[in-house]
Symmetry: C2
């Protein structure tokens, strides 16, 4: 057996045997999997490149955690229950210490959500991680981007602008009070996929998206897919006490356009509000009603005193300006 295979085995084999629906896991040409009857398969994939999606020097366990978390966040946005994932790891060299840390962060999150690693690939090259996740929804039950209708209420989970706050702390570009520092870094390095929350939204939400590129950009995608517009009030946007402590130097733009928060943005028909509030109360992340869907296309941001607010930079785009 050659080194490449030994590597994969040593660090990742364990995660393959978590679930009964894995007929053949790691170690053959393909995984063989048994989809549950009457369910639709939900699939997503994301690549994280060092220096683009995480800073050089990020602890490998945080890289592992985040690579899986951002993919699970996509499943959450569809209201899907996660099941399996594949891992493509490109590394400059087979570094046992790095792999050990990486697999710890990755497999911890996998265990938390009872999902199995069923395959992957290891190649030599500049550090990057691709994960492909698989989950399930009942037939016709996926929450899509395109279902928002005029009159629907716009919601977000958790706090916005947390990841960019963490990044600025990591880079020492901002001086956060000591008490807020660990939390801010944690939200940047280890975003929480809102999977449990998303399950509650199934059958209630008319549309949903996860916030990877910032509220303005991602809500923009939802509005475009739904062929509607929205009005969002800045004063309703949920910011954390940590963010609030440095609001003077940060302002609204990172709340609206900061990437990597991985909260959910979703819309609810008004008649579903009561059911939603009743069921969602158990979740510690909280939620906020931030706006309303309108027939007129476009996103209208309403600032203090009802005046329109213009955003300096609409969102994060890897290829913008190239």
């Amino acid at each position: 057996m050659t080194g490449e295979f030994d590597l994969i085995r040593r660090y990742f084999w364990d995660a393959s045997s978590l679930r009964d629906d894995v007929v053949t896991g790691i170690g053959d040409d393909c995984a063989v999997l048994a989809p549950p009857l009457g369910m639709e398969l939900v699939v997503s994939t994301d690549t994280l490149v060092e220096g683009v999606h995480f800073p050089e020097g990020t602890h490998p366990s945080d890289v592992g955690y985040k690579a899986l978390a951002v993919n699970l966040s996509d499943l959450a946005a569809m209201g899907a229950d996660p099941a399996w994932f594949l891992l493509n790891l490109t590394l400059p060299r087979a570094d046992a210490e790095w792999l050990s840390g990486f697999s710890k962060g990755l497999l911890q999150l996998a265990r938390d959500y009872h999902i199995a690693l069923v395959g992957g690939d290891t190649t030599r090259g500049p550090l990057s991680v691709t994960i492909t996740v698989h989950g399930f929804v009942p037939q016709g039950g996926a929450i899509r981007r395109r279902g928002a209708r005029p009159g629907d209420v716009v919601y977000v989970t958790g706090f916005l602008g947390q990841a960019i706050l963490g990044l600025k702390c990591w880079r020492r570009e901002i001086d956060l009070p000591e008490e807020f520092l660990p939390g801010a870094l944690d939200r940047f390095l280890r975003p929480a996929p809102r999977l449990d929350e998303a399950r509650v939204l199934r059958g209630l939400a008319s549309a949903a998206i996860d916030l990877s590129d910032g509220l303005a950009a991602d809500l923009g995608h939802l509005l475009e897919a739904s062929e509607v517009g929205a009005r969002v009030w800045l004063e309703r946007l949920p910011v954390s006490p940590a963010y609030d402590s440095v609001f003077g130097s940060m302002g609204w733009d990172p709340v609206l356009a900061g990437g990597d928060d991985y909260e959910l943005c979703f819309t609810l028909p008004p008649e579903q509000r009561r059911a939603f509030h009743g069921r969602f109360v158990d979740f510690s992340c909280g939620f906020a009603e931030i706006g309303e869907i309108e027939a007129e296309p476009g996103l209208r941001l309403i600032g203090a005193g009802g005046s329109p607010y213009a955003l300096a930079c609409p969102g994060y785009d890897h290829f913008a300006g190239s």
Copy 2:
């Protein structure tokens, strides 16, 4: 809409609408797919890195073709029918000409096998391509590596050592007669996934693997998984007329250890031979009986006059020596 999304749309959107079982394709947080009843899902993923898996300067349409072909080859090794794929593309910059060529090669092969592109990700970074393929087998019908038994016959499809011959031509390390040159380059740049052939093997073959790292290494994996050994006669290994024309300078090692051929190696119980020969006769790639499974572990190569043959280098390993 930002540049990144425009890019993906422009070149790849078309391939999403090929199949009725795609409920939601490209353009949402996840793809939503309808697995056929009574089938098992077969999944595999491979990453190709520039300079490691394809030389710098490879035509983008060949990169696109090959990235999908090597993944389909994994499905073939399990006897699976292909259905859907995802594409993660990491590019130094959004180069329209490169993307146009890449998508042509990729989508041509996708159309040939009626498979749909259902999702993916585009990121900035050093050029690499990850593809994840999904296919189906009837319940319990996957051909695995672990089913070979003593007495089974060992087969390969097509010719061996073709890809390394093509690579040596590409690098101008070898002088192939003019008539053989286009064919040799084509087998290196555009390996043919043996999907149609593999479907015939379902229910007949006891074990199978595709040849990505060379016969010796890959048959070695099959033998290890099956906990058996094999005897293989060099004189039975199928080499092309092109290879034969330069055999003097090439020898047996590239036939045994050259990667990237993507032929199938499989084993058949002797009682299935007649059925197999009858059904396989339609396929132009041809096949050869190269050896026999034995109880004693290990791969025994038999050279001229029945003497054991020792291979200089056992196979291709991206991390070997690091």
